[in-house]
Symmetry: C2
Subunit: 230 residues, 2 copies
DNA sequence: CTAATAAATGAATGGCATTCATTTAGTGGT
DNA sequence: ACCACTAAATGAATGCCATTCATTTATTAG
């Protein structure tokens, strides 16, 4: 199928999109910032399942192959998105106030941002920071916050990594279905677990279960790691 | 059914799979246990990139479409694998000894198992335990361990979830490349971060960096969560 | 004995990322 | 002013992949 797709257009009041003839256009249509923005729009509209190179090209009113003049692969697009998201993480606490409060605000916003973007977590976990300026900027601010709070220099990176690991895992947790711990017909053979599930659901009432666990773990990490300060 | 599983070809020691004629064979060739075993073998040999329905069918010496008589989708295969892996997690500490030691042994082995299977983490995070008997069994044992250690019932699930979140995030961390924190040409603009990276690398010497961070975070979590006991 | 069901084959199907030949436009050097 | 090179677009493959469907054969239930 020729896929009428992107640029149909002509006279009808569509999104615009005149068909472009082959060859380099006078003004460049694409750049990394535009690709990033289009990817984010697509993700928010259709989710990560809807983020395909073809769909991205359609949003940008370009042939799919044109994207490859600006990124080497789809993975590259994900990297661009990932780095952009890092700029949304709240670092304001590291400007003043206690280390505990700064870490808490940072961790909650970091988790919230990536809870909406869990498919990027495997990407982040392996992404060399060199290629990600926003990510690097975040690490710089956080490192300085830890240093100023009195952390021994050689403990700073392990502490940040431990916190990040917890944050990434917790981001997945946010996306879990309500009934994930429903033991169903097997409940009879798991009395202790089933009782614990019932009991935590009962004591819950307000707020998401994921928030309760995150709060609990974060407090434990903050107090445990905080003890490393000189 | 013992499930001959990875069906071997007739007499010849070819890798080559006698061609079976169409129609139901007298003895069933496939079952879930065999599919699970073949998937695990494939994963260990070729990684998750090599785990395709076609490759799985080839290992089992069947046509790809035959798999769909036993599983509904590839996701289903991943679920089978995931549940099998849960049986490899070390629960022995919960038989006796201190809660701290039991949790520590459980957490390390849990992380080690899934560090080799990070592509399953998104699957687990969303998997209803009903469909996963081994997973359910693990939760039962761990829940009982927490209860016996004096945890208030309504705190047990949040505490386990917090630990699991940390474990999953840390499993990704194990797979990160050595030089992930290399700031390269940008190092000049990130003095605090770069110094922290150098310093933690220097103090490292033995063991993986991921182990240092995991140990640090796990100790913090254990001492913080342990304080919840009555 | 027969109808329903289970389990296999083999041939599509449609979606996907990616590549390649081709076209056109700007750019740097002489 | 010319020319070679490079940049940025189109459009037509390519190959991989999960999944579906019609068909065949065997077993099982009534």
């Amino acid at each position: 199928m020729p896929a009428v797709s992107a640029a149909q257009g002509r006279s009808t009041s569509n999104g615009g999109a005149q068909r472009r003839r082959a060859g380099r256009p006078s003004a460049a249509v694409l750049d990394k910032a535009g690709i990033t923005a289009a990817a984010l729009e697509l993700i928010s509209r259709k989710g990560y399942g809807g983020l395909t190179m073809a769909a991205l090209a359609k949003v940008l009113e370009v042939a799919p192959s044109a994207l490859y003049n600006h990124v080497a692969s789809k993975q590259d697009v994900l990297l661009l998105v990932e780095d952009h998201l890092m700029s949304l993480v709240d670092l304001s606490g590291f400007g003043g106030g206690s280390w505990e409060d700064a870490v808490r605000a940072w961790a909650w916003s970091y988790r919230d941002v990536f809870a909406e973007h869990t498919p990027l977590i495997p990407v982040i976990a392996v992404l060399p920071v060199t290629d990600a300026p926003q990510t690097l900027a975040m690490y710089e601010t956080v490192s300085k916050g830890f240093l100023d709070a009195g952390f021994p220099q050689e403990r700073i990176i392990p502490a940040i990594v431990a916190l990040e690991s917890f944050i990434f895992g917790s981001a997945y947790d946010v996306t879990a279905p309500e009934d994930i711990f429903d033991s169903g017909s097997m409940a009879g053979s798991t009395p202790n677990f089933s009782a614990a599930v019932r009991s935590s659901a009962a004591g819950q009432e307000r707020g998401r279960p994921a928030d309760t666990a995150f709060s609990l773990g974060l407090d434990a990490l903050i107090s445990g790691l905080g003890a490393l300060r000189k």
